[in-house]
């Protein structure tokens, strides 16, 4: 266990934990955008910057910085608040269409950004380049259908050559993890259309009710989980009925923030 101090409060967290774990244990509020508990730490958005005042004086990205015994953290130190403010101001210029960013900025007292939007960014833009979609596709799904393209200010996320992503299984995890709702997915007729990736996958009909419900490329799961054979081919609603369970299942579609 690691014992450390967050905002004058002593907390104890398991070995291997990050500063973010300690901040959460202390119940302090700290926004994160590129962080997801199910994925490897990344540290890109720089919104979770906190001041470390001991054993050295520095600003640290809480989500990736390992917690150390005896460390003293101040989430509200002026330099940390100011650093997060600038991060938000730049994210607001990059994603002027994101309600989440607008709300976070408003809470930090920022009504509009002083900075120009990067080239090619319009008022509807919501992507903040946090990379959650890329990482969930690679780390959790194992498909690696999308990747970062270009560098610096020209960085963006996309499928290879902005064409139909052959590796995409249409699972929709990218849209699910996106914190700003930048990934557009729509089920229309027998198709799942992943607008953002210029990709479409066919949907399978439920053998019970006949409604379209699952992307065809996900059929590989039938071989992976033979025990589900009896329920295979059923939509979540029919499956719940068949299994004697009536649970509400949220369909996987892009969500707005």
């Amino acid at each position: 266990m690691i014992e450390l101090t967050v905002n004058n409060q002593s907390v104890t967290i398991p070995d291997g934990g990050t500063i973010l774990d300690a901040v959460r244990a202390a119940g302090a509020e700290l926004p994160t955008l590129c962080h997801h508990d199910g994925l490897e730490p990344y540290g890109a958005c720089r919104l979770c910057l906190v001041a470390v005042t001991h054993p050295r004086n520095t600003l640290a990205a809480a989500c990736v910085h390992p917690a150390e015994a005896g460390m003293v953290i101040d989430t509200e130190a002026p330099q940390a608040v100011q650093a997060r403010r600038l991060t938000l101001e730049f994210l607001l210029a990059r994603a002027p269409g994101s309600e989440l960013i607008k709300n976070l900025a408003a809470r930090a007292g920022i009504e509009s950004s002083r900075f120009e939007s990067p080239p090619g960014v319009d008022e509807q833009e919501k992507c903040i380049l946090c990379g959650l979609c890329v990482r969930v596709c690679r780390e959790a799904i194992g498909a690696s259908a999308i990747e970062f393209i270009g560098r610096g200010e020209n960085r963006k996320v996309g499928a290879p050559f902005d064409l139909q992503a052959e590796a995409c299984i249409g699972c929709g995890a990218c849209a699910e993890v996106c914190p700003t709702g930048a990934v557009k997915i729509e089920d229309r007729g027998g198709l799942r259309i992943l607008h953002t990736w210029h990709t479409q996958v066919k949907l399978e009909r439920c053998s019970g009710c006949g409604s379209y419900f699952a992307p065809q490329p996900m059929k590989f799961m039938k071989e992976m989980y033979p025990e589900t054979d009896r329920l295979w081919g059923l939509c979540p609603v029919c499956r719940s009925k068949q299994a004697g369970l009536l649970v509400e299942v949220k369909p996987v579609v892009g969500r707005e923030d």
């Binding site: 990205a61 910085h65 900075f115 903040i128 970062f148 610096g152 200010e153 960085r155």
Partner: protein
């Protein structure tokens, strides 16, 4: 050839000595990239052709870089019985006379720069007919230099492992393996005071120890040869001129940390370096100096050369590791440091080319010898590529602790064309600009960092009074903006905004509050970026704001560029007294902004003029002047 045993090193050393000091004529042409750019390739061919025509028997060698790039093509002529002379700025036209003289048994009279001293060629003996000529190390350019990393550069044939061995190459490796005590080896490097020469200055011995003490069995060592700073070519020169010193250092480092696989990550924009390195590695493998059971010691070590695809950020060690692994190239947060968790998640040491090239000679001459060079806490030498508006440009190696003034005035020979040096930028695009009033600063890691710059990997750009510091900051930010990988917000978006503001300032469109914003963003990018690229990219802005605030204010408040550089803020005019009415400017002006009768003074129409300065470049009288 088959794998050799340690005793055979002595035999190969003799072979190397016999080609370095053959009984007959030996001509070595400096053919590193700097030499080739100056035309050394054609000079080599011309000498070869002339010698063929006259039937002159000679050994013609392609050697590396002696450092005095400005004097290239450099030709080193060794005529037994007569002496050894270095010729500068040799042209193809000089080849026939050169060969004719040598065929007559005398040294050519044209273009000698210095006498090269050899064993037995003591300083008292001057060459007949060359009495006025100084020895090479007496030239002002070389007098303050001390060659450790560049000890063989330009003197040996980089394609010959035997010539490397002539200077006791691979002896340190043989000694280390026969000692069989990696612990003592790490101790020796620690005691030598060697610090990372890639710019970070982390103690090499300590890095090796951290990796060595890991509980993980599989470990790696990587040579970082992804040198990408504009105006910097230290690593390239070492690889082109003395590749074996790097390979030997890498094997020794691998032995020290318990690695059996080493990598050399070299940028593919250095084709000659890749070629020399590949050739050298093949020779070392053939002799069993790389591979299984090296010199019969039981130690196995393989080396793989990985060619970088051109992203500047790959010079950052975590991004470099990602590039070797084949993932998209982005830096990772540290900790964990590579020495704990690096390539494929295993403990990995990443050392710079110059760090590794220093290792063999430090072991041969002893840690105390190395400690005795340089300054306290900053042992050894530092290699700079001295470029820009300085009289002597080239690759220089000086003991740490020398002052900037000594380096610029003595080695560099002062400003170009006698102009006053205004500032110097150390450490590549992420370094800081230091003003002339700080030139008493000692060249060491801490002093440069304290003044807001960095040692970096060793670029040194000299600027004179004709340089606009705002324009310089804009130039470097344009580079880091283009090379930011885009992963983290401060580096990706902050550098872009810094560049936007600098562009507005140089265009005369900035307001006073922009200067505060500039400082605010620069500090944020420096403090909050993930990797060294972002953390140092604002240095040119921060240091020019600190030392040349008046120039910023002139641009912003008075809409004036004091150095007369920023085209939006200047006006060109023709000095009516100086103009002889030759009409050259009128003919060359692309916007027809110049008018005037032949043989009477011309004038520039400021409305049509785009400040391209072609008129100033072509005017034989220097009559075109910046008037605002």
């Amino acid at each position: 050839m088959k794998p050799i045993n340690p005793s055979e090193l002595a035999r190969l050393k003799e072979v190397g000595l016999s080609t370095l000091h053959p009984p007959g004529l030996r001509i070595a042409v400096g053919m590193a990239t700097c030499g080739l750019a100056a035309g050394a390739g054609a000079v080599y061919e011309a000498i070869k052709e002339e010698a063929g025509k006259t039937g002159l028997n000679l050994m013609l060698i392609k050697t590396g870089c002696l450092g005095y790039c400005q004097q290239e093509p450099l030709v080193d002529v060794r005529l037994p019985g007569r002496g050894r002379v270095l010729y500068a700025q040799v042209s193809t036209k000089a080849a026939p006379d050169m060969i004719a003289a040598l065929a007559q048994g005398r040294l050519p009279a044209e273009g000698p720069l210095a006498v090269i001293a050899e064993n037995g060629n003591s300083k008292e003996i001057r060459l007949e007919g060359f009495d006025h000529l100084p020895f090479l190390d007496e030239l002002p350019f070389y007098r303050r230099q001390q060659k450790v990393v560049l000890r063989n550069s330009g003197l040996i044939d980089p394609a010959s492992i035997e010539e490397y061995m002539a200077g006791d190459g691979y002896q340190a490796l043989a000694q280390v393996l026969s000692d069989g005590d990696p612990e003592r080896l790490v101790e020796a490097i620690t005691r030598s005071g060697l610090r990372g020469r890639g710019g970070g200055g982390f103690p090499t011995g300590r890095k090796w120890r951290i990796c060595r003490e890991s509980s993980e069995e599989t470990r790696y060592i990587i040579c970082n040869a992804d040198e990408g700073d504009p105006g910097a070519y230290m690593d390239r020169t070492v690889l082109e001129s003395d590749p074996h010193s790097v390979i030997e250092g890498l094997i020794i480092g691998g032995y020290a940390i318990g690695a059996h696989q080493g990598y050399i990550y070299v940028r593919d924009e250095y084709p000659l370096a890749v070629e020399k390195l590949t050739g050298a590695l093949a020779q070392a493998e053939e002799l069993g100096l790389v591979g299984p059971n090296i010199l019969g010691s039981g130690f196995d070590f393989a080396v793989t050369i990985v060619r970088g695809a051109g992203a500047f950020v790959c010079g950052e060690e975590t991004a470099l590791i990602g590039s070797i692994e084949g993932t998209s190239v982005e830096p990772h947060p540290k900790p964990p440091f590579p020495a704990i968790q690096g390539l494929w998640g295993r403990p990995t040491v990443v050392n710079n080319v110059k760090t590794l090239a220093s290792v063999p000679i430090i072991l041969r001459r002893g840690p105390d010898w190395h400690r005795s060079i340089g300054a306290t806490g900053n042992a050894g030498t530092v290699v700079f590529s001295l470029v820009g508006q300085v009289a002597n440009t080239g690759l220089v190696e000086v003991p740490m602790g020398l002052t900037l003034k000594e380096l610029l005035e003595e080695v560099g020979g002062g400003g170009l064309n006698g102009k006053r040096i205004k500032a110097v930028q150390t450490g590549g695009p992420s370094g800081g600009c230091l003003p002339a009033r700080l030139f008493d600063l000692s060249i060491d890691f801490e002093s440069l960092t304290g003044a807001g710059s960095i040692m970096g990997s060793g670029g040194m750009v000299v600027m004179d009074e004709g340089t606009c510091m705002v324009d310089v900051a804009k130039y470097f930010l344009a580079f880091t903006k283009a090379e930011s990988c885009g992963k983290c917000t401060p580096c990706r978006d902050g550098i872009r905004e810094l560049h936007n503001i600098l562009s507005r300032i140089t265009a005369g469109q900035a307001e006073a509050k922009d200067l505060d914003t500039l400082e605010e963003i620069a500090g944020w990018v420096k403090a909050c970026s993930i990797c060294g690229l972002g953390q140092t990219a604002p240095n040119p802005v921060l240091t020019t704001l600190r030392y040349f605030k008046d120039e910023y204010q002139a641009h912003v408040l008075e809409k004036r560029c004091p150095a007369g550089v920023c085209s939006a803020l200047i006006e060109l005019a023709i000095n009516q007294e100086a103009c002889n009415g030759c009409g050259l400017c009128l003919r060359e002006c692309p916007t027809e902004a110049i008018s005037g009768k032949k043989k009477s003074p011309h004038v520039i129409d400021p409305v049509k003029c785009t400040r391209c300065r072609i008129c100033a470049d072509v005017c034989p009288e220097g009559a075109v002047q910046v008037v605002r």
